[in-house]
């Protein structure tokens, strides 16, 4: 294991994050506050409770998930796309590192950044709503797994992307809609019958549901199914990355 290489990649990626620390932290704080004002105060005042939880508190897990998923994806995809764009990828390909080490460095850093933002949003939420966390360890586990799996997905997107437009394509066209339709601001049980069935095909439903369970002890789907879903998703991303490095797809001729 080339541990120096892993740490070098990780540090250099984290440095990019801290170089722009103000943007990195202020923007999620502002957008979270806006969500609380719009959804929590304006709309929430007309909705009493969802599954026994005040609406303002109910949307917190979904809000965190929304930011964490988009941040993890965009951080990881940019992290590996940028060396491709500047051409510095040659160094990565000629260095004594294997795929696991490269992934650990880039995905580890992207997941850490997403974690940071998730925690910041959680702290912000405490200023707006009364919040208690029923299963703190499960909450952290879900947060870590989500950061990790979506960073892996972002890494794949970054390797696949041939230009900056493609880099934005999947997050914009796939991830954001899936998160919005995944019950981030409502319970899936509030949907009409057909849509409930359709929603079950959305993998994000399982993640948000599991995360919400960690907060309030109530969930749309069984917590075990949520765990299996996120484990499967992480496994699938890892397998895809392993295949990419084995075949050199889009990176090594």
């Amino acid at each position: 294991m080339n541990i120096y290489a892993v740490l070098t990649i990780y540090r250099s990626e984290m440095k990019r994050f801290f170089r722009t620390i103000m943007q990195s932290l202020i923007s999620p704080v502002i957008s979270t506050s806006l969500y609380f004002i719009v959804f929590g105060a304006a709309i929430g005042s007309r909705i009493d409770e969802v599954e026994g939880v005040s609406y303002g508190a109910f949307i917190v897990p979904g809000l965190i998930m929304l930011s964490v998923m988009t941040q993890a994806t965009s951080n990881a995809s940019f992290g590996i796309y940028f060396p491709k764009f500047t051409g510095t990828i040659y160094e990565l390909l000629s260095a004594p590192v294997n795929f696991l080490e490269i992934v650990l460095g880039y995905v580890g850093a992207a997941a850490t950044k997403a974690m940071f933002i998730g925690v910041i949003i959680l702290i912000t939420a405490f200023f707006f709503v009364d919040l208690s966390i029923a299963h703190p360890i499960a909450m952290i586990a879900f947060l870590v797994l989500t950061c990790l799996s979506f960073s892996l997905l972002g890494f794949i997107i970054g390797i696949w992307a041939g230009n900056f437009e493609q880099l934005q394509l999947i997050p914009l066209l796939v991830i954001t809609p899936l998160v919005f339709l995944g019950g981030s601001f409502y319970s899936v049980s509030m949907l009409p019958g057909v849509w409930q069935t359709i929603a079950m095909f959305n993998p994000v439903v399982y993640l948000i549901s599991g995360f919400r369970w960690a907060f309030f002890g109530v969930a749309d789907v069984d917590i075990a199914i949520s765990l299996v879903a996120i484990a499967f998703f992480t496994g699938a991303c890892l397998a895809a990355i392993w295949w990419i490095f084995r075949t050199g797809w889009r990176i090594r001729q």
Partner: protein, 308 residues
């Protein structure tokens, strides 16, 4: 001398069917400077990329320091530093940080003193905190060299280090290469400037169409180049070379209208004076004299044309 890099029947075909390398064999000796000469598209960069691990070979075997570049890639890449042809650098990073990044990536513990030393050696000492984007093209090229040297490699590949570089900087670059050689680093550089190969290489390899056409000691090549030819045009064609001129080994044109004398410019005596005296003594009347020197360029162009 033992070879540090050994390339055996290396082939590389791209998915489109283009064969960039067609069975390359090459042995690079430890401590030497080998210049690979070849026109654009000859396969120079593909050859280097394959040795460094950026390109996967279709078939054949490469060893570096006795290790296989595919199955023992960690050991081989540890020994190799690569300076790419394109200036690929992260524009927002500082010089020092980007060099330190390279060292870490190659699995070496942090050693700032060593990085300072390299930067000073490459006259980048006072630019260490500058952002890459603020540097001139020549400076950026030096940063690439510093990055390649950051993990103390034993073999350094320089892919067209002086392409698009002004004359003064080119001379500087040659000095850098000479210093590295003195430090015991084996250097392989690709170029299409013949004078560059002449100036710094120990051996010269000519590559074209994905094949190595020739690898020769530069001094042997220089010996060939040191030869000059004197063409003597005669007013009256001769049917054979007179006996008294036999010792000069003259070549006679088919129609006998001129004679060609080959001599070594580096020899103590070229023999021109006595030849001209003897020509006069033999009763031959000269109408014109021409001298012609064969250069590395002639050899190179000749070889490349043959395979085109």
């Amino acid at each position: 001398m033992p070879s540090i890099v050994s390339v055996d029947n290396l082939r590389k075909a791209y998915p489109g069917g283009f064969e960039a390398l067609k069975g390359v064999n090459l042995d690079i000796e430890e401590g030497e400077i080998l210049a690979l000469l070849g026109p654009n598209g000859a396969g120079k960069t593909t050859l280097i990329s394959t040795i460094c691990g950026i390109t996967v070979p279709t078939s054949g075997k490469i060893t570096v320091g006795g290790f296989d570049t595919v199955s023992e890639y960690r050991a081989t890449r540890d020994l190799i530093g690569l300076v790419p042809q394109e200036i690929n650098l992260e524009p927002f990073e500082t010089v020092f940080n980007t060099v330190r990044f390279s060292r870490g990536l190659f699995g070496k513990p942090r050693n700032d003193a060593y990085i300072h030393k390299i930067l000073d050696q490459l006259s980048l000492g006072d630019k260490k905190d500058s952002k890459i984007m603020a540097l001139s093209g020549g400076m950026k090229r030096r940063v690439l060299i510093a990055k390649a040297l950051s993990h103390e490699p034993r073999v350094l590949f320089l892919d067209e280090p002086t392409a698009g570089v002004d004359v003064e900087l080119r001379k500087d670059m040659w000095d850098v290469v000479a210093d590295l050689k003195a430090a015991g680093v084996t250097i392989i550089l690709t170029t299409h400037y013949i004078e560059e190969a002449e100036a710094i290489a120990d051996r010269v390899g000519v590559i074209n169409g994905g094949q190595i056409l020739l690898v020769q000691d530069k001094s042997e090549m220089m010996a060939q180049m040191g030869q000059k030819q004197l063409r003597i045009s005669l007013s009256e064609p001769v049917s054979s070379i007179p006996d008294m001129l036999r010792k000069y080994d003259l070549e006679m044109a088919e129609d006998g209208s001129n004679l060609t004398y080959t001599y070594d410019t580096k020899g103590e005596r070229t023999g021109i004076t006595t030849l001209l005296n003897d020509l006069a003594a033999a009763g031959l009347i000269m109408t014109d004299l021409q001298t012609k020197q064969s250069s590395l360029e002639d050899i190179f162009v000749g070889l490349v044309k043959e395979t085109a």
